[in-house]
């Protein structure tokens, strides 16, 4: 009796263990296969290396820490994580170099008509997809049409292609062919835009304008084996584990110097991994800054200062909601913040105080815009001038910040204390989970908010000023409306003379800064990055641009 029951018990335990073992075995063998695969390809590479001496760093691999790209479909991507990979695998008519200048890519040259509304692109004769198929004007026409097609569900098609005549009709589903793009011959393409727009070429550097192979896109899960046209090919992608880019030896421009870029997607503590030699570069956080900057530290020789990224952190007011419907009240708050003190003492100099909207180095940046500087007396005067001069009559003030971490950030906490000490104004903090925060932001339900940064998508003042402060833009979360600013921004959109155009933006920026729908807080300060000594020519850029093809690795 006992033995019999015992057997049953064993059967249950044994079979469940067996099941678990099988599960673990089956996927283990999968992982091993992958390892074997990479091993063999490395062997092939080393053989190749012997025959091909002109590759500077053949077989060399750059290791970086990265995170899973939401998509590898250029037409659907809209985030910098996806863009960082897409820019290496695919390409378009024009590109940005590491100095953010527009350079020819698949188009070897272009001509712009006198009225600024017709662009004629000449496509390189040697441009090929990764599988060797020649890239023609028709591929571009197909790709633009696909990007604009509503079935593609592109979020960026309106913004980046909307200037092209006929794109909106395709997006609205009225037709499936963009009328403004014309095939001249196999290697010549004409694009007509609705009005002369200086920033149009810059928009074409964005992934939604990239060329795709129509045959490739027909396949199910095609982004797992994309037939792109960039300097690297997607060799392997294991979600949440790793992504391997392999050099495209037949690239139409100068092929990459390294053989692989290996992206670790599993995450982990970047500093520890860098010190352990698992990755070749990492940013330095505030916690490690002192140790890294110490000249006696081993890490000190690897430190590189990254250029400022084109972004700004700010406090945004909803100018429709009391008490922020009063310009003087907003100015009082701005004057009461000692940004210099916070930047140096609280944030260890990792940020630079911002007074204007456009970041230093950005096209149209005007250093004469002083903004609302720290001045306690002025702050008190402005408060006295406002309709909320009696602070006992103030409505409840709630500052909303996104996140779940429990802290609004040290800078915000200090700012709130400064308001309290200088003006006697009490502000409560409300932390809202990201998705909910976005919903409230878009519905303009937030009284005032922080924790947001604006990062430029392309180097043009339109991308900072028009998109955030024009009264009709959905990205104007402040409910800000100033007719003079609207007029200036509208004329700047189509102004052909560069100086006049920048002047218009500067005038608009002056008004905006003075009326303070935003309190500009920080431009990014010196960002310290560690780059392993074996990696040469890795360019740190303020925006996502293709860069791995320039990297060299020496041992």
């Amino acid at each position: 009796m006992w033995i019999c029951k015992n057997k049953l018990l064993f059967k249950v335990i044994f079979s469940s263990l067996l099941l678990i073992f099988l599960i673990s075995c089956s996927s283990d063998s999968g992982e091993k296969n992958v390892d074997q695969f990479t091993n063999t390809s490395e062997k092939v590479l080393s053989e190749k290396k012997n025959n091909n001496n002109n590759i500077v760093s053949a077989g060399k691999q750059l290791n970086v820490l990265y995170s899973d790209p939401p998509t590898l479909d250029p037409h659907r991507a809209q985030d910098s994580t996806s863009a960082g990979i897409i820019l290496e695998i695919y390409s378009g008519l024009v590109s940005l170099d590491t100095n953010l200048q527009i350079i020819p890519d698949i188009a070897e040259s272009w001509a712009i008509s006198n009225d600024g509304m017709k662009y004629t692109f000449k496509i390189r004769d040697n441009a090929k997809f990764h599988n060797g198929k020649k890239i023609t004007s028709e591929d571009f026409i197909w790709s633009f049409n696909r990007a604009a097609n509503p079935a593609t569900t592109s979020i960026t098609a309106e913004d980046y292609l909307g200037d092209i005549v006929g794109v909106q009709d395709v997006i609205d589903g009225k037709t499936d062919k963009i009328s403004g793009i014309k095939l001249i011959d196999e290697l010549t393409l004409e694009i007509n835009i609705d009005s002369p727009k200086a920033y149009f070429l810059a928009k074409l550097t964005y992934p939604v304008s990239f060329v795709l192979d129509s045959e490739n896109v027909k396949n199910k899960n095609w982004t797992d084996s994309p037939n792109g046209s960039g300097p690297f090919m997607l060799d392997e992608y294991l979600i949440g584990e790793k992504l391997l880019l392999k050099r495209n030896p037949d690239w139409y421009r100068e092929p990459a110097k390294i053989e692989y870029v290996s992206m670790n997607l599993a995450g982990g503590q970047a500093m520890a991994m860098y010190e352990n030699g698992e990755i070749d570069l990492t940013g330095v956080g505030m916690a490690d800054l002192e140790r890294v900057l110490d000249p006696s530290s081993d890490l000190n020789k690897d430190v590189v200062i990254a250029p400022l990224s084109f972004s700004q952190y700010y406090i945004g007011f909803n100018v429709q909601k009391p008490p922020f419907d009063d310009k003087y009240f907003r100015q009082a708050l701005a004057h009461a913040i000692n940004k210099e003190l916070i930047a140096t003492e609280v944030l260890s100099g990792m940020v630079k105080p911002a007074y204007g909207i456009l970041p230093p180095g950005f096209p149209g940046y005007d250093k004469t815009i002083d903004g609302l500087k720290f001045n306690e007396q002025l702050a008190k005067d402005m408060l006295a001038k406002s309709k909320y001069s009696n602070i006992n009559d103030l409505p409840r003030i709630i500052l909303s910040v996104p996140g779940t971490g429990g802290s609004a950030g040290l800078d915000i906490e200090v700012i709130i204390e400064m308001w309290k000490q200088t003006l006697g104004i009490e502000v409560e903090i409300q932390q809202v989970e990201w998705a909910t925060f976005l919903q409230m932001l878009n519905k303009q339900e937030l009284q005032f908010f922080s924790g947001l940064g604006w990062i430029a998508d392309y180097p043009d003042p339109e991308n900072f000023l028009d998109i955030n402060f024009h009264s009709t833009k959905s990205t104007n979360h402040n409910g800000y409306k100033n007719e003079e600013v609207d007029k200036l921004l509208e004329s700047a959109r189509i102004e052909q003379d560069l100086n006049n155009r920048m002047q218009m933006y500067n005038n608009a920026e002056r008004i905006i800064v003075d009326e303070a729908p935003w309190i500009p807080l920080w431009f990014p300060g010196d960002r310290y990055v560690l780059i392993n000594q074996r990696v040469k020519n890795y360019k740190l850029t303020p925006m996502s641009v293709p860069k791995y093809s320039l990297v060299e690795i020496v041992d």
Binding site: E31, E275, A435
Partner: protein, 309 residues
């Protein structure tokens, strides 16, 4: 017995539909919207409307739910909202396997230390060994994993370089050691205390005294009578732990860079990736329902006095 099992099985689909319905409704009516998260701060209502209608999110909720159940019953959980163009099953299957492996090793650590130790100290009641081991295990249980992991990392990775600091390579890879230890050791206390309590309870029973007075060998009494009877409550815990294996461990996975389902679920919730959240909830619910059933069945195997009609 079989009738009982079939009866229980018949209820499973109804339970799952109820779970699916609640999750679905909470997702649709809770705050936040997947298209808004997708567009971030660059939200444009016109574009959002177009995307919603392409994704079928503009249809009435009941229509959406009906369509979802229809395809889910065929094993098609749809396409992820966050990883655009990827099927939910291709996303979550590898992650569930990773989490299951990690939790299984952690569970084995808890069991293989906790059960024998609990059984042992029950026999040592009244001596100094019993309270010493209990307080040790409770001490380890009380330290949060956010502290154990960095401590183990400091010793195992930064100081001695024995194992890599993070990453994942499966069960037979040194990188599993730190996370499995960190997750397994706190579990020892639970196993140990339940095993100790039930063993003490069994030791006080009349049939044990009878067995001992019959002159049976200590070993025979321990294995045949004490151990088998004291393990019954453990089976319940084990069954649910096995189901819990699929849930993953958010904190450990995040700190250690393990591509498991725990981290992925939380990220999916923050991104309002409904299809992924639905699939994870349904798989979890199924696992618990089945584990519950298995626990009930195994009671009757271990203790023949328990019978279901």
């Amino acid at each position: 017995m079989w009738k009982y099992i079939v009866g229980r099985l018949v209820w499973i689909p109804f339970l799952l539909i109820a779970v699916a319905f609640i999750t679905f409704i909470l997702g649709r009516f809770g705050p936040g919207d997947p298209v808004e998260v997708m567009m971030g701060t660059k939200y444009d209502p016109v574009v959002a409307e177009r995307i919603r209608s392409e994704m079928g999110l503009d249809k009435p909720v009941m229509v959406q739910f009906y369509k979802y159940i229809q395809s889910a019953s065929k094993g098609d959980f749809g396409e992820s909202f966050r990883f655009r163009g990827r099927s939910v099953s291709s996303l979550i299957a590898p992650k569930i396997i990773v989490s299951a492996k990690l939790s299984l090793v952690a569970l084995l650590i808890s069991i293989s230390i906790g059960l024998p130790l609990g059984f042992y100290i029950a026999h040592k009641q009244g001596t100094w060994i019993d309270p010493l081991i209990v307080s040790f295990s409770v001490f380890f249980m009380s330290i949060p994993i956010m502290i154990t992991i960095p401590f183990l990392l400091w010793i195992g990775c930064l100081k001695t370089n024995l194992v890599p600091c993070s990453g994942w390579g499966g069960i037979f890879d040194s990188r599993i050691i730190i996370p499995a230890l960190a997750m397994g050791i706190p579990g020892v206390a639970g196993m140990l205390r339940i095993m100790r309590a039930t063993t003490l309870d069994v030791l006080g029973q009349d049939y044990i005294r009878t067995a001992q007075s019959k002159g049976l060998h200590f070993f025979t009494v321990s294995t045949r009578h004490v151990f088998r009877n004291s393990i019954i409550p453990i089976v319940t815990i084990l069954a649910f732990s096995l189901a819990g294996l699929l849930g993953g461990a958010f904190i450990t996975e995040t700190i250690m860079g393990i591509p498991g389902i725990g981290r992925f679920s939380v990220e999916s919730i923050f991104n309002r990736d409904y299809p992924v959240i639905m699939a994870i909830t349904l798989i979890g619910a199924t696992a618990f329902v089945i584990a519950n059933l298995m626990a009930d069945i195994s009671y009757s195997i271990i203790d023949p006095r328990i019978r279901y009609k």
